[in-house]
């Protein structure tokens, strides 16, 4: 993303904005992760506490998703860089 047409004041404001958005996006991802793992793992409502099977599933789901998200991030950055070089620009 090209920030070179912003002056110093704008760049500082943009950096603060990016920081706020990153926090907001982290919270969004966290909420989505809870939702996904609950939906995939929790189907037994004979008790009000998670069964040990459900706990294990939630743990694995969280680990898998975070690693998945990291890998997508790497491939995404590569694809984005290719687009920039190919001159398809933005």
């Amino acid at each position: 993303m090209d920030l070179s047409n912003l002056n110093a004041v704008e760049r500082a404001q943009m950096e603060q904005l990016i920081e706020q958005k990153q926090m907001k996006d982290f919270l969004r991802m966290y909420a989505g992760l809870v939702d996904r793992c609950f939906n995939d793992c929790v189907n037994d409502f004979t008790s009000s506490k998670l069964t040990s099977k459900e706990e294990t599933c939630v743990t694995r789901c969280t680990d898998k998703f975070l690693k998945h998200s990291e890998r997508v991030g790497q491939r995404f950055a590569e694809q984005n860089a290719q687009l920039q070089q190919g001159g398809q620009g933005r």
């Binding site: 982290f26 919270l27 609950f38 409502f45 506490k49 998200s69 990291e70």
Partner: protein
Amino acid sequence: MSFLFGRGGAQQQQQQSSLNLTAAESELDMITDLFNRIVETCYRKCIPAPYQDGELTKGESVCIDRCVSKYFETNAKVGGKMSGGAAGR
């Protein structure tokens, strides 16, 4: 000059006030979002179509109670993993 100085002081108060409100607003948004997700998720898990009538059955009511409890437990579990373990971003 005191006019300018006063405005500077008012600006600092403005910024602190703004930060306090932003923090309170963020917290409100998070709680609202959590509530809405639980309503959506537990409806899907506990109350399937077709609908026999407009009341909650005993079974549906019990399911809802347990679903809310389990969701909070899942929320805490995932939160624990994300603050303790490796960040994935």
